[in-house]
Symmetry: D2
Subunit: 339 residues, 4 copies
């Protein structure tokens, strides 16, 4: 049984802790947060022995073999470097940082310490998206030609959240950039981004966008389309379609039930599962199970540091394209060599 | 080009006439009805040369090779006998009659005159039901084991209609009895009927039912289920499912569009096509085209006199079962010999 | 935290134990089985302190507040009576027994001891079926008129299992009898059963059937249809449709993913989730959570002893109807009074 | 009854003639084609009295009130001008021409002669697309924010066809440009096109593309995405999705039947209707009916000359964007004034 430390006990840190406690593979030994008020009763109910306001306690605990970094993005790179030096395997929430250079520092430390790093792109572990990846990889649709990802949130985040989010591309579409690479297994060589403010003026005031469509050109010649909206009134819209020389695969949203109600008003189905906690409940469990399996050597990390870095590069390129009003080329080869 | 006479210019007679005028295979030469007031302008618009209140005119017209009998059910058998004796091919609306003996008289005349008779079970020509029949016949679902037919009208007929209808089994479920034989290609050896009055008290007052479920036992051992309701508020519900040793085939309703609308209220689709004229528009065209092709010798009549007779026998057995409160066996062999 | 004893550590007993260990509401203190070889390592991995081959140990343990009876059906009634006398709350797998009288003895003991009894009709806790029940109860489809339940297993059980199963009606369709009462909230007053041997001759040799269709007449006048097959080659087929004066609600099967693959061969979707462990994974978790909540007084037992008894009565009536070849009436009132 | 002349008796010219002969609103009086060999028997079977190899005969026939221009695109503008001067109402296949200037000459003549001109964007009359347009127009999805159109052919055209086609944007995507304007009811102010050769090297040799994604910016701020492929092995893929502040509407493909076949291999549905003749059969009928109704004054032309012109402008802008590798702005106002 792995002993695990959780750094950052916000919503996602708590979620990971609860999932770990339910697996038969690991146990949470410590949890740290800058604010540990009100944390004790939660920790007790989960049988977590140690609560601390100093994450260094976790890094120095020799019993702990792996840490989950769930603190604010601005702290990720530093903690990764310290955890790597302390010899801990690392699960880090996305994005690793807002800057390619800062992320590369973290990856450098991980490589030097020879520990494992998994980045929290949870959607790779979702039953629908995994089916798409496996189907494309299995050659069922032949040579991929067009990829389309639709990703819409049920409602925009708070102004406070937006302010610290890094912007729509880095905060929201970064999941889709990662998904695009995961499904296509080909790097992106050009990005063209179009954005708009159609939903919430506050987002515009913070110099961010709420609606975006991005075109990707993959090294294999295929074209990718990512659609993002901060507000779909019918709920969390998470779909994908891959089209190729031998066919296509497309997924629909998951819904609370399969019921179809027919009345004189029409034929009605459930709305999609509300938001990411509901939609990706299974994926959050699977990603930590796979993390521990990778540490045990069963298979390579499904979403490693380079995956984190590449998605961040795409997010930055999209921002640059939006500002410049023209497509941006990515010199992919150099970066891979640098890795 | 076949020259055709239409006997009975009610809704269905007019529909057939319009479809015939659009084909390249036949033309309507005459139409007869007991009430020819207001019929002239309709006939003129369709380029129908002759309108008469005496159907004998049609039978005696040597130019006419085929007649469509769309008059009230009570007149069908007599007119079939006369038309057969006049050497005309015959398309007759369902049911041939309300009595097995009366129907057999008509079939006898058809056999003796060596003309062709097609009974108007239009659903055999529907794209969905035909796909089910062809799939079952092709062995895709293996040995059929269970057949389910759902057939619900959008609203109950008028009291006048019910009074002359012959009852739910003979008027409405007769289509489903025919469909059951068409799909299963096996005769029914036992019928158990359950009925209820849940919709309209007037129907009950006329000694008829508005809701029914009938179980069929086929000669091949399979079980059939037919559901009928006189009122589905969401529209005309016409579905079928056949289940067998190698799989199943099930059809959904046709709808005016495939659009799915998602709002904060839910996810909504169109209701089914409203009623039989909309739902079976393509089937009505196909059945007359196939009728003329059969006359030309391309293939046997898809729905012949025996098919009409057998469906009527099932309707009568269902009625008998409902009254008796127990299953009714059908001595199928004897009847076939009698044929 | 409730301390729980598990009686019978077969597949379903183990499943319940694992679910209980994951909840925050209860812990498994003891597990008993006639064969405790190989049970220790499983119990240790789940932190279950006590393993015994004598279920009396559990009944006499004052720490234990509730027992889960997962032993063979033939032992249920006796153990229920003993557990009730020991003051334990009881969760008992279905059916309580194969005989109405034996079940009534158990229920009598439960009433006298004033403990709670939940019967393991897990489908009441399934997201799809619960949605149907809630929708019908909420009046959305108006007055229910027809209920249809389709329930097909992916493959027939072993000969050994069939021999002890109590027959298709008592072993398999009993879930559907319970579902019919749960959704309709009306008792069944007449049963007509039709059965066939179309799948596996061994089942026939054991005097059981593998295919069945049963018609139910509810006290409220509605008609129910239950379809069972021991073998659907495409997987576990679990659907329901309720039709009423204001509309209908129908559920589809759950599938591993929502992916739709389109190739030159056709448009393909996933098969349904394979069997009951996959299909009802969420329902198994929910039913024990609800059991503990009921014990805590949050709401009445969702599926109580009378529910168990009524489903068994319907199973017996179906068997009687099949043998007699005619519908069987249930004198529902007397039974309720006897309760 | 309108008397109609058909100019150009290729596949689409014949189709229109057949549809006209079936309506009750018009009759085909003449048909012209440069090659009238083998045309007589077809014309006779449709009761078309006159066949000529000189379309001027039609223009000079005072009985003829409307002409259908179904000749090659290069001839459209000239014939439109001549037909307008002859006082005929005009239905012209798309595109009007390959050059904005040439199209404007035709439109100028139409305006001066005060005749009606309908351009053959048949998809405006399709049941699914019309539902989308009406739903968006009705405000059901609120303020439109993103529009997505997927349009894939089942197989690439012949090299001969491609050579004369005007290229993918002018030949194929022009339908989608029109659809975008029809649904959004807002003009496009910027176009960014990305294209690829992924299917057929012959298309590349002819300096054309076979795969394209185009982004549109609408005057109302919304973003549009059009996807085109010359080869979808599963058939003709024609879908649309409009997303807005109050919800979304999305259509699925039409299929030959609604049947779902479940076997041990999976769950299978029909492929989409094969190609445009099957998919838009109803739309082709509707567009000519609406044309005659517009001539009668029932409602304005649904797809007029300006609609034709604007779609052509978008096709040209897309080509320009593809060549330049950057977005192209459209000075929409000036063009409208020029109209």
């Amino acid at each position: 049984m792995f002993q695990v430390g959780i750094i950052g006990a916000g919503r996602i840190g708590k979620l990971h802790a609860e999932h770990i406690q339910r697996t038969s593979m690991a146990r949470v030994r410590s949890v740290s947060d800058v604010d540990i008020q009100n944390l004790d009763s939660w920790a007790t109910s989960l049988h977590i022995p140690v609560v601390t306001d100093n994450y260094q306690d976790l890094l120095q605990d020799p019993e702990i073999g792996a840490v989950f970094i769930c603190s604010p993005t601005s702290t990720h790179s530093t903690i990764i470097q310290e955890a790597a030096q302390a010899g801990k395997h690392i699960f880090c929430e996305k994005p690793v940082s807002f800057s390619v250079e800062t992320t590369e520092l973290a990856l450098q430390a991980v490589r030097e310490a020879n520990v494992m790093l998994q980045v929290g792109f949870n959607r790779r572990f979702d039953h629908n998206f995994k089916k798409v990846r496996d189907t494309v990889q299995g050659g069922v649709i032949g040579q991929p030609q067009v990829l389309r990802i639709t990703s819409r949130d049920p409602e925009p985040p708070s102004a406070e959240y937006v302010a610290k989010s890094g912007g729509l591309f880095m905060d929201m579409m970064i999941h889709d950039f990662d998904m695009a690479r995961y499904v296509m297994q080909s790097e992106v060589v050009e990005v063209y981004a179009q954005g708009a403010n159609l939903i919430d003026p506050k987002i515009s005031e913070m110099n961010d966008i709420d609606t975006a469509v991005v075109l990707l050109t993959f090294a294999n010649g295929a074209i990718g389309i990512i659609e993002n909206s901060r507000k779909a009134v019918y709920g969390y819209d998470q779909r994908i379609e891959a089209f190729g020389s031998k066919g296509s695969i497309a997924t629909e949203n998951d819904r609370p039930s399969t019921a179809v109600i027919s009345t004189s008003d029409g034929v009605m189905m459930d709305k999609p599962l509300y938001f990411f906690l509901e939609r990706y409940a299974q994926a959050y469990v699977q990603e930590i199970e796979d993390f521990f399996r990778s540490i045990q050597g069963e298979f390579p990390i499904v979403c490693n540091g380079n995956d984190g870095l590449q998605a961040e590069r795409l997010a930055r390129a999209a921002k640059e394209s939006l500002v410049a009003g023209r497509p941006i080329k990515l010199n992919h080869m150099n970066v891979l060599e640098a890795m």
